[in-house]
């Protein structure tokens, strides 16, 4: 895929600068930094997270290696797999995998999303003639056997619960879709498809059963199967690759129809200025804000992985994403974090704090769209200073290669030295 509207050099430069920023967030054990998510923020824990931040990074490196043959990306993938294996618990879950709820293990859909990307990374490494890092196979096996089948499989519903303490009747279609990718990928990797077939069938059926058939949400999938009144376009889009995979695997038209319907839902949901609303409701106006930059990129990535990304869609959403890149090379996380549609000179602080767990999706998208233009060498990331509002008070967000700081005239809200697990000051919840 190549964008007809954006100059290739602009894409390559954006990718290179983002790469440079991501390197400033790398330290022992993984990628560090605060998290701003759909459901809240995790500003206190800034250590390595094993949530979906790995997904876009692993896929992005695989994409860039496929384009350039650069062994650096293979080395990054290998290190990532080692870091992930070291972060796994014996029950198959991963430490600090809950993104905005960190530091908590068992994040959904984070863990299966990362494992699905890890399986794709394994395939890339194998294709490149590399041996998988030690512990990778055991990690995948433990995740599938212990976490998915032993702990999360619901034998009555015949699908996967979201976590151990889920209501027994509840499952999350976006998480089930990621789990399907893990099971299908793992079955291909190990040749153990027959044994996993009942789980794949059950999960696939539950995914289809949860899709909205009619009304304003038609084609969308809810965040939870018991929520019949709202859908998140980005989380719904995350189901696309699994649906497309099922279609390829079975040849059944029901998967094509489900994919078509979901693509239609996404098309109807998009905002005029680019990006996708936060949440679409069946019986009331959509909660458009905040529009997450990474979610827009992630939606395009999901469409690409399902073979449904078009030039028009790229042209509609890519400028919105690129416009959010800052001097540091990072991307602003969202627009409208304060839920106010009126444009303010000082945005909400949550809009500007860069988050690896969203930047990775942009990284992957840029890697997909960069069709071979050489990416400028990653130099040092630039410093950035942004006027923001924190709980209604004027403040300034500053970031450079070594730190992030959010402070007002009389109060320091947040101060974190990159590479450390805990901020030295944190007054944000």
């Amino acid at each position: 895929m190549n964008s007809s509207k954006i100059e290739p050099e602009i894409l390559a430069t954006a990718l290179g600068r983002l790469d440079a920023w991501l390197e400033t967030m790398r330290a022992a054990g993984g990628y560090y930094g605060p998290a701003v998510g759909f459901r809240g923020v995790s500003m206190a824990y800034c250590g390595p997270g094993h949530d979906w931040r790995w997904e876009g990074l692993l896929d992005g490196w695989a994409e860039r290696h496929a384009r350039t043959g650069e062994p650096l990306f293979l080395a990054r993938m290998e290190q990532a797999l080692r870091d992930l294996a070291a972060a796994q618990l014996l029950n198959g879950a991963f430490r600090n995998s809950s993104f905005e709820n960190n530091p908590v293990e068992g994040g959904m859909p984070h863990e299966p999303a990362v494992m699905a990307a890890a399986i794709r990374a394994c395939n890339s490494l194998t294709r490149a003639g590399r041996r998988l890092p030690e512990g990778t196979t055991a990690m995948l096996e433990r995740f599938v056997e212990e976490r998915l089948i032993r702990e999360l499989w619901n034998k009555l519903l015949k699908t996967f619960n979201n976590w151990l303490q889920s209501d027994f009747e509840t499952y999350a279609p976006p998480a089930v879709a990621s789990i399907l990718e893990v099971l299908l990928g793992y079955a291909e990797l190990t040749g153990d498809g027959a044994r996993l077939e009942p789980y794949v069938r059950g999960a696939a059926d539950s995914l289809l059963a949860s899709q909205f058939a009619s009304g304003p949400l038609a084609g969308g999938l809810p965040v939870s199967n018991r929520d019949g009144a709202s859908a998140s376009p980005y989380l719904a889009a995350r189901c696309l690759p699994a649906l497309a995979w099922l279609q390829r695997r079975t040849g059944e038209t029901r998967w094509t129809a489900a994919t078509d319907a979901l693509v239609g839902f996404l098309g109807r949901s998009a905002t005029a200025k680019g990006g996708f609303p936060f949440l679409i409701h069946a019986r009331r106006p959509a909660a458009v804000l905040p529009v997450f930059t990474g979610a827009a990129a992630g939606t395009l990535v999901a469409l690409h992985r399902a073979g449904r990304l078009t030039e028009e869609l790229v042209a509609a959403h890519l400028p919105f994403v690129l416009a959010r890149q800052t001097a540091s090379g990072a991307f602003e996380t969202a627009v409208g974090g304060n839920r106010r549609s009126r444009v303010s000179r000082r945005p909400d602080w949550r809009d500007v704090v860069p988050v690896v767990g969203w930047a990775d999706k942009i990284y992957h998208l840029l890697a997909i769209l960069n069709a071979g233009t050489p990416v400028p060498a990653a130099g040092a990331a630039g410093a950035v200073q942004h006027e923001v509002k924190v709980l209604g008070v004027d403040a300034v967000f500053c970031e450079d290669d070594h730190s992030m700081r959010l402070a007002g005239r009389t109060r320091t809200w947040f101060e974190w030295r990159k590479g450390t697990v805990w901020p030295s000051a944190c007054e944000l919840s």
């Binding site: 206190a44 824990y45 014996l90 530091p103 908590v104 839920r339 697990v421 944000l428």
Partner: protein, 484 residues
């Protein structure tokens, strides 16, 4: 199952010709002694004949005027289970794991004016008999009465409206070995000719924070094994994972900052219970600490922690500690041994937290920091008022944690001062005005002003922790302490 009613009645009124059997009293009492509520079941079906024998035993029990207005529905079909669960809002794992759910119905319409509620008593006798009969037949069983909407069970099985559901008896082959629960001594519950209640027992009932330390320890020990999570991938009750709650997030963050300010500190979690705080810290910064001590009152709790952590990963830095004396708080650590200390809603177990606070100070190194989160008496915890209104004898007792005394901020400040701590910060968690904003949010949604309601929700979420005066009417108070 249908049986010949007339034949049964004939059998009932006919005087038995069988020779009198000696009453196997000891065997029966032994059966009572060994019966436990079973919460984990094997995936092994129970033959219909056994279910019929169980119900036969239950129907031998007396009913008022021998009305026998009961009916039992054995639910074995997973689809019906799912439907019953959905309609009744029952959220226990054994609902799903038990091969048989025996729904107990009774037509109470004929006995509505009976002052002793004989219909309800009849059902109680019946359910007790079912539990005993299951034990006698080598089965495990538990009565599931914690169902929010028992009428949903009726709807799920298609029972008529005049039959009232009294919960379910979950039956199957036992896959657990729960510890024996403590029972009150007979002299505490029996009096002759004139009602008497020992002073000690009276206080324990209405003011459980007056329990002796050994009583607290026993309660917490059993509670953990009955309601614990994460062991062997089994969750018995669907309680949300508190570690994702804003309160826990706040606490972890503050502890993290304290840990980050030291070089490989030794950290102590006081009254660690299921080890949530310890586990959280182990995951977040296990490599940054020299030792993570999880201190609690009983060896059973220590065993739980070892078991839980063993199933999750290597945890060499974690060391469970058990209280030394049965009736005295005594942390088995030398003076000044730890640099960071946490105590998460545990002072509430004590009428006088002084001894615990002094012990906490003793083991803290000079300059060491502590984070103590305590429930605030000035916050209108609604469940307490509901219990008062309903004259619930367990007033003030939170059954998910143990005795629960609420302190006033002034009392706490004095306690900390007397124990030798200096308070460096006090943060209120979930202040009262958030409740008011939440109510306003609901009102706005009813008006259809969702945009404003969304902003109110966002405003509320960002102000969970406060250092303003609102903190004195917040649900919990987080004290950051230092030992000078």
């Amino acid at each position: 199952m249908t049986r010949g009613t007339n034949a049964m009645n004939d059998q009932a009124i006919k005087k038995t010709d069988a020779p009198e059997q000696p009453l196997a009293g000891d065997a029966f009492l032994a059966l009572l002694e060994r019966r436990r509520s079973t919460r984990m079941f094997r995936e092994q079906p129970v033959p219909p004949e056994m279910i019929e024998r169980l119900v036969r035993a239950a129907t031998l029990m007396p009913t008022s005027c021998n009305r026998q207005l009961w009916h039992f529905v054995a639910i074995t079909d997973p689809a019906v289970k799912v439907k019953a669960s959905r309609l009744s809002d029952a959220q226990q794992s054994y609902f799903y794991d038990a091969p048989v759910l025996l729904a107990v119905f009774y037509d109470t319409s004929l006995e509505t004016r009976n002052p002793c509620s004989t219909a309800q008593v009849t059902v109680g006798i019946t359910i007790g008999t079912l539990l005993l009969a299951a034990e006698a037949m080598g089965l495990g069983a538990i009565y599931l009465g914690g169902i929010r909407k028992p009428d949903g069970i009726r709807k799920a099985v298609g029972a008529p409206t005049h039959l009232k559901n009294f919960g379910l008896v979950c039956i199957g082959y036992r896959d657990d070995d729960p510890p024996a629960p403590n029972r009150r001594p007979v002299e505490h519950v029996l009096s002759y000719n004139r009602f008497t209640l020992p002073h000690e027992r009276y206080h324990a009932d209405i003011r459980p924070h007056l329990w002796k330390l050994s009583q607290v320890a026993d309660f917490r020990d059993k509670l953990l094994w009955y309601k614990g999570v994460h062991i062997d991938a089994k969750t018995l009750h669907v309680d949300s994972d508190v570690r994702s709650s804003p309160k826990f997030q706040f606490m972890t963050g503050r502890l993290g900052v304290m840990i980050g300010a030291c070089t490989r500190p030794r950290v102590l979690d006081v009254l660690s219970f299921n080890g949530d705080v310890t586990f959280q810290l182990l995951n977040a910064c296990g490599g940054q600490v020299e030792k993570l001590y999880a201190y609690d009152l009983t060896p059973g709790i220590a065993r739980y922690i070892v078991e839980r952590f063993r199933r999750l990963g290597p945890a060499e830095v974690v060391e469970p500690l058990v209280n030394v004396e049965p009736e005295t708080v005594q942390i088995p650590l030398p003076d000044g041994h730890v640099q960071v200390l946490s105590c998460y809603e545990r002072l509430e177990h004590f009428e006088d937290p002084g001894p615990l606070l002094r012990e906490m100070r003793r083991v803290l190194a000079p300059g060491g920091r502590a984070l103590v989160v305590v429930s605030n008496r000035f916050y209108p915890h609604m469940y307490r008022y509901r219990r008062m209104r309903k004259k619930d004898y367990a007033l003030g007792r939170n059954w998910n944690r143990g005795p629960e005394r609420k302190y006033e901020p002034g009392q706490l400040a004095r306690q900390f001062r007397e124990a030798g701590f200096r308070v460096t910060a006090v943060t209120g968690l979930q202040p009262l005005h958030l409740k008011l904003v939440a109510a306003a949010e609901g009102f706005l949604r009813r008006l259809g002003w969702h945009g404003l309601a969304d902003r109110a929700a966002d405003w509320r979420l960002q102000r969970y922790a406060t250092t303003s005066l609102w903190r004195y009417v917040s649900s919990s108070l987080a004290y950051e302490l230092i030992k000078d």
